[in-house]
Each structure stands twice: as structure tokens, then as C-alpha cells.
Symmetry: C2
Subunit: 259 residues, 2 copies
């Protein structure tokens, strides 16, 4: 963690530092851990934590550890493209899940990553890292490729020219090969990914488009590599993506926008 | 809205004021509206909004209006008793919904209200105000009565001695009558509410208990008043509540805690 307690930093940026110190794998923190993670002085962290708990943004558990508070969760539900998109997509995701009995994921673009805003999975389905609120790389996940292929040139160049992590031996990290793949994703509105992110797992993804032709989200099903389900999954995922898109106002003939 | 720009207020409290100005019915705001709602000076709001958008906590739409950002939504997913409880409860809620085809709601206690953390509803189901992230009164909603009946004495007294709003002619607002009702809710772990919050709508609710015997949430089904479904709903809601409780570690014989 970078130490960022230089005097020039504003109070509000320190408050955001304290909040964003909470992470999926570190969702409860002690005061001492918060000090370590933010690099801020004890007295500052103490005062900010008091203000945040008073406002309901943080919550102090009975064991003294801190967690994100329910009021912050409520505030988060107001973010566009989260709860309303989840509600719209839910019946389609359930039907997909019933048909295929594997992980079904819904994701949107955030910065240089895809964020999983909803998922359905069976206890016995393939083990997988993603969870609601979790992040997936754009260059080698199904939803990521679909979202990136519809993004503006600036983001595409930034991702392709950046550090392309090789998650498995199958991960495509050659920018030119990725460029060709993205062109194909854009043309078809889908992506099929073989073990590029997780060994043994394939992803079949399709775009979700709104009434103005923007690809606002992507839907995917994760199936065991090489299983016959992958071929079966693609038409279902495409149909579900179109169904959700129609509820968002998309109609055949509306031009798909780039960026 | 109270004007709270007095000089004594700290920068961090101003930042929280800006964030909490966003509400379910006002989830996108212009700079001018934020100024009006917070009572803060133009320059302060501008600067705070810039910091918040840079951090991804707020998002500026192409039309210039501000919304809650996806990073804040992600942060909110880390709040205990939200995503993990939703995931656990989801299959039970779906089964309830399939069986009854009416609104199914999952709620937790927050301050002096119940917060809806998930819901399933059919497009044709009874019109209802609540939504994910929305709030319900403790004294006259099904989930509210269940949650309140398991809360500590301090909260119970504070609610019963406070302003008890009469939402409909059926709303019980007599503290002694409510006290008797709550004792019954605590004994049975359920509440049945007839048109106390919305005319024409009844609610059947049951507690969800964790491995330490704490009533951490409540589940409810909303049915049309007087329909035969209400009698049918109660055993289903109880069974679903018990099923979710078992997944949280509860077992028959674990003593239900108060407060």
C-alpha cells in the first residue's frame, strides 16, 4: 500500500482513502489495520472513523472491527446500471441458469475492468473467483472482451498497450491478435473464451444494448472447458442478451454504437 | 433540507453531506441542486464533487448531471448482511415467488427502519412502493414488526414512544396494542399485517436467525388483502425463513436472542 499521508492531501481525499481501504478480501478492518493500509496518522484515522460511523457509512462490530455500513450500501444502490439492470436481467438470468446449471454473470464496464453486478450459481457449479462487486480483466474474460470491443478507441488502446497479464497459458496477450478478436466480438456481439482466465473454465458472453444502441452490459455463462454445454450455451446467452436489451428499449435496426 | 454550512462543520462531514444528498427519488442531481440540498457554497460543492468524481464515488453523466458512481456501489457490496445474505436467500425467495407469484421481500434493521435488501416481484403483482435499498417503517410493516420484536428494549421504547405514523386507517399506533403484538411476534417469529401500510395489501413475514440466535433479517410476502393466499403464504414464509436460517448456522434448540 502506498503511504499517502503527505501534508498536501485534502481532508476529503483522506476520508475516501479510509473508505476505499475496505476491499472484497478485507471487508472488516481494525483501526490499526486502517492506519497501516492508509498510511494516515492514528489521530486522523480515529477522527475520520468516528465521523464515518456517526454517519452510518461505517459500522463498528461488537468485537470492535469496522465494516462498511448499511447506509453506504443503500447509497450504492442508487448507482445507475446496478439495481435497475439487475432487476431487469434477473428473470433472464434465472432462465439461463435453469437451462444450463452453471454460473451466470452480469457485468458492466468500470475503468479498465469489468465489474460483476450480479451472478447466479449452483453450489456444485464450477469453482470460480468472481463475486458480486468483483472485478474481471477486460482482455481475457468473456464479459470483458464483449465490453472492451464496444468501448471507445482510447480505452481499447490503453488496455492493449498496457500490461496484459497472462492468467493461464491460454491467455491471449498479443495486442494484434486481441485487436482481431475484438473486431469479431464487435461484429457478433459475443465472445467465447477458452480457459484464458481460469484453467478448466470457458466463458460464453453476449452484449446487452440499450435504446440508444450502447452496449451497457454483458451477460455470460461459465461452463466446464470442452463440455458440450458450450455449444448449447451460445444461442441461449445471445437470446437472453437480446431479451434484456429489448426491455432496455433496444429494437432490431437500432445501430450499435462504439464508445 | 436543513442548511448546515455553519463554519464549524468539518470538511469530511461536508463530503458526507454531498454524498447523502443523493436519494432514491433524487438519484441524479445537478451542481445547483446539490448546492441547494446541502446548503454549502458553490465553490465547496464544486471542489468536493471534483474529488468524488475523481475517486469514482460520483459519476458525471454526458448531460452534466451527477449520479452515484459504480465504485461506491462496489464499496457498498462489502457491507455485512447484504450481498452474502441476498445470495443465501435467493433460491428460497425464488421458490416462494414461484409458489405464490406475489412480492417477496428481504429486509434488515437499520436505525429505526427496515431496509429492503432484496425483492422479487412479478410485473403484474400488487403495486408497491418498496424497492431494493428502500425503507419500511418498523411499527406497521410485516418485516418491520418481526425485526422490532427481536430488537433491544432501547430501540423498542424509542419507536413506541416516538411519532407513530398512521399510514392507513388500519395502522396500529397505540403503543400498548403494539407492545402486545410485538410479544406475539417474538413468540411466533412471524407477523401478519392487514393493510397497515398500504390499502389493499397484507404482509406475511417471518424472522431469519443466525447461528447465534440473532434475528438478523426478515422475509415477507405481500398479498392482496383478504385473498386466500394469505393463509397459504404463512407456512411457506416460515419454512423459507427456517431454511435460510439453517444456512446461516441456526439449528433447532439454539435460543433466539433479544436485542
Amino acid at each position: 500500500m502506498p503511504r499517502t499521508s503527505e501534508p498536501g492531501r485534502s481532508v476529503s481525499s483522506r476520508l475516501l482513502q479510509v473508505l476505499f481501504a475496505f476491499q472484497p478480501e478485507e471487508s472488516d478492518l481494525s483501526l490499526a489495520e486502517l492506519e497501516r493500509k492508509t498510511g494516515l496518522p492514528h489521530a486522523t484515522v480515529r477522527r475520520l472513523v468516528m465521523e464515518l460511523t456517526n454517519a452510518g457509512a461505517l459500522n463498528r462490530r461488537s468485537d470492535g472491527r469496522l465494516t462498511i455500513g448499511l447506509r453506504l450500501w443503500q447509497l450504492g444502490t442508487l448507482a445507475p446500471l446496478t439495481e435497475s439492470l439487475r432487476t431487469t436481467a434477473q428473470p433472464f438470468m434465472e432462465d439461463l441458469y435453469t437451462a444450463l446449471h452453471q454460473h451466470v454473470q452480469l457485468a458492466v464496464l468500470e475503468g479498465q475492468e469489468a465489474v460483476v453486478i450480479d451472478r447466479l450459481s449452483a453450489p456444485k457449479a464450477l469453482g470460480l473467483v468472481s463475486q458480486v462487486g468483483g472485478r474481471l480483466p477486460l482482455h481475457c474474460s468473456g464479459v470483458g472482451k464483449v465490453l472492451l470491443s464496444h468501448a471507445g478507441d482510447e480505452l481499447v488502446e490503453s488496455v492493449l498497450c498496457g500490461q496484459l497479464r497472462r492468467y493461464t497459458p491460454q491467455t491471449t496477450i498479443d495486442p494484434e491478435a486481441l485487436r482481431r478478436e475484438l473486431a469479431e466480438c464487435r461484429r457478433t456481439g459475443t465472445a467465447t473464451v477458452h480457459e484464458e482466465l481460469t484453467p478448466g473454465a470457458d466463458s460464453v458472453a453476449a452484449r446487452i444494448v440499450d435504446g440508444e444502441g450502447r452496449a451497457v452490459a454483458a451477460l455470460s455463462v461459465i461452463v466446464r472447458s470442452g463440455s458440450v454445454k458450450q455449444q448449447a450455451a451460445l444461442p441461449s446467452v445471445i437470446a437472453s442478451g437480446l431479451g434484456i436489451s429489448r426491455l432496455l428499449g433496444w429494437r432490431p435496426g437500432i445501430k450499435i454504437r462504439q464508445g
